[in-house]
């Protein structure tokens, strides 16, 4: 079954001043915020880590997209995404990551979100804005206004 509902991004799901010693800690922080928002069951964290170790979620342009596995959909309470920025960078299997867009989605709505994100990252100006803006509202607007 397909659903085309975009996961929900809220300003309180945007964290601009995160730090993490490594990739695993960064995924934990992403899971923390998803849990804090009531978006996922606590065990979704393990699915995110399993997915990360199965294959890096590095997307490009300093952005990674930690998310769960197909079989962990039942652990998603509410389709959501959160954006965590790591100004000091996190080593992501050789790539420096400063932005994590963590996704919790039950349907295939995350494909539309990924498309929006990819379109931003293919545009150097917008990619830079995503990495550098200090305005959480601007991030919500960037990720919500794609015409798909």
């Amino acid at each position: 079954m397909t659903t085309n509902v975009r996961p929900v991004l809220e300003v309180r799901g945007i964290r601009l001043h995160e730090t993490a010693a490594d990739r695993e800690s960064a995924v934990h922080r992403c899971a923390d915020v998803l849990e804090e928002l009531g978006a996922v069951h606590p065990t979704y964290r393990e699915a995110m880590l399993d997915r990360e170790w199965a294959m890096s979620t590095y997307l490009g342009e300093g952005v990674a997209i930690p998310h769960g596995l197909d079989k962990s959909r039942a652990l998603v309470r509410r389709d959501s995404l959160v954006v965590l920025r790591f100004p000091d960078g996190v080593d992501w299997d050789g790539h420096p990551v400063t932005v994590c867009v963590a996704i919790a989605a039950r349907g295939d709505g995350h494909v539309a979100l990924l498309a929006a994100l990819a379109q931003i990252l293919l545009d150097p100006e917008r990619a830079r804005e995503l990495r550098e803006t200090t305005d959480a509202e601007a991030i919500v607007a960037m990720l919500s206004q794609e015409d798909l």
Binding site: T2, M55, T57, D70, D108, V111, L114, A115, A118, L122
Partner: protein, 90 residues
């Protein structure tokens, strides 16, 4: 040379599938572009470009390649798009 294929992956064209296809495109004997009815042609060897299409299961993808190796490259990529890459063993 143009080939049309329907995306088979039930979860749509997500990161893992796009990564697998981009690698195959990079290794293919001719450069391949992909477009949909809604989105202009992009290079099939770029993960970001493939994801930017936002293709869901059943989306029609139009593949294009030219010159020597075009048919082989199209066969390979059309085969991958027409396979649900999430199914074990695929």
């Amino acid at each position: 040379m143009i080939r049309s294929v329907l995306l088979a992956g039930r979860a749509g064209l997500h990161l893992r599938a796009a990564s697998q296809i981009a690698v195959a495109a990079a290794l293919a004997p001719a450069a391949v572009t992909v477009r949909t009815m809604d989105r202009p042609a992009v290079a099939a060897d770029s993960v970001l470009a493939l994801l930017s299409l936002g293709a869901l299961c059943g989306t029609e993808l139009i593949l294009e390649a030219h010159g020597p190796g075009a048919a082989e490259a199209l066969d390979t990529l059309a085969g991958l798009f027409a396979t649900d890459l999430d199914v074990a063993g695929a």
